[in-house]
């Protein structure tokens, strides 16, 4: 298996190096997407399937779509950085030495770190958390307050983007590229199926709200790209869209307050009802993650166009 590890390690270093060092922004973004895919394989190899699912949908899919759309807004002269004059050798040597020195120190430190781990502690409280899969139990019950704040961070990001500028009008790609809308239409049932499957599976196996939300968000970005979700851009649906975006956070807050009323601590879910609470939060988290990923993709406030 070490051969596979070596291949993955070389692929990760090669794609990251090409992304950061070679001239040309488009090439850099393409390399970043390849890097995301390699990272997803590395997560599988390191036995982190939840992370692999989220990384494949977000790191390789949505980040790349965001970057490519932003590049498409720039004129061609800004898109391709002119290859700067070759750096003289005396600049290159200290930079390489610095990279190697930092990497060496970091490597030695990481290898010397103690690995305490919370394996037993988590396993001890797992039966009363309402989920059998430890990662889901941590995300939605044990450290649910972190996930609540994370949804709040996403909402803040959407608010920041919408306050900056008006949305980029939807690209009518279907006119020139007829294959794309067909692909999006054919794939959409599959995206929905994967979403429900991950949600249902999350309580007892890898899956859950984050991969489900990421997969549905990636499918939604594909539909936005083909102009199939026109309502997100229309003024009439603006209010509805705002309510939908906040709904996940509101439901989360309601759960936290419900926990406060029933057990006396904020977000303290009563063990006998924890399964239902987790189901409700899981659906809300997944849907709001998907919707907010799509809202990022608008790059601004929708609904202002005539």
């Amino acid at each position: 298996m070490l051969a596979v590890d070596l291949l993955l390690a070389l692929a990760a270093l090669a794609t990251a190096g090409q992304c950061l060092l070679l001239p040309g922004l488009f090439r850099a973004v393409a390399n970043l997407m390849a890097f995301g895919l390699v990272m997803a394989l590395i997560w599988v190899r390191l036995e982190a399937p939840d992370v692999a699912l989220a990384e494949a949908a977000i790191g390789a899919g949505i980040t790349g779509a965001l970057l490519l759309t932003a590049l498409g807004q720039l004129p061609a002269s800004r898109r391709s950085i002119q290859p700067t004059r070759d750096r003289p050798l005396r600049q290159l040597i200290p930079i390489t030495a610095l990279v190697l020195l930092m990497a060496g120190v970091l490597w030695a430190t990481v290898l010397a770190l103690p690995k305490p781990g919370l394996v037993e502690e988590v396993a001890a409280v797992l039966p009363e958390s309402g989920a059998e899969h430890a990662v889901t139990a941590i995300l939605l019950n044990l450290r649910g307050i972190d996930t609540l704040l994370e949804i709040a961070v996403m909402l803040c990001a959407v608010a920041a983007i919408w306050s900056l500028q008006q949305a980029i009008p939807p690209p009518a790609l279907g006119d020139h590229y007829p294959g794309l809308p067909t692909l999006a239409r054919w794939l959409h049932p599959l995206f929905l199926l994967m979403f429900s499957y991950f949600l249902w599976q999350g309580a007892h196996a890898p899956g859950g709200a984050f991969p489900a939300g990421a997969v549905l968000g990636a499918g939604g970005v594909l539909l936005l790209l083909t102009g199939s979700i026109a309502w997100m851009h229309q003024r009439d649906f603006n209010l509805l869209l705002r309510w939908l975006l906040t709904a996940g956070l509101l439901l989360f807050l309601a759960n936290a307050l419900g926990g406060l009323l029933m057990t006396g601590t904020l977000y303290g879910l009563p063990p006998q009802l924890a399964g239902y609470f987790i189901m409700a939060i899981e659906v809300a988290t997944a849907l709001s993650i998907a919707l907010m990923l799509m809202a990022f993709y608008l790059f601004g406030r929708p609904g202002a166009q005539r």
Binding site: L67, Q73, L111, G117, L118, V119
Partner: protein
């Protein structure tokens, strides 16, 4: 320095720890030396991926896989795509106000 590395066997953990360290160093240097702002954003993305890799490696303890860092990394991936989106929107806005940037 050499005695630190003298008794390291090449295993999955040590190999990916080395990869993560190299990625952190490369990305950190690029964040400060890259000329184009979007290139710095790419470097930040790679930096966060490398940190996630370190976290997942620390999660592999002797008595099983610790799920807490996995949950942290899942949250981190979503927060990092939020940061990317905000930075891109800021960049486009800045570009429209005053093109050469």
């Amino acid at each position: 320095m050499t005695h630190l590395f003298s008794n390291i066997a090449l295993t999955t953990e040590t190999l990916f720890a080395l990869v993560a360290s190299l990625l952190v160093a490369l990305a950190l240097v690029s964040v400060f030396t890259a000329r184009h702002l979007i290139r710095r954003l790419l470097a930040l993305n790679i930096l966060s991926s490398a940190v996630f890799l370190l976290l997942v490696l620390i999660a592999r303890t002797a008595d099983g896989t610790d799920p807490v860092p996995h949950a942290l990394v899942l949250t981190g991936i979503v927060v990092s795509v939020s940061t990317t989106a905000v930075v891109l929107a800021l960049y486009l806005r800045r570009y429209r106000m005053k093109p050469p940037c």
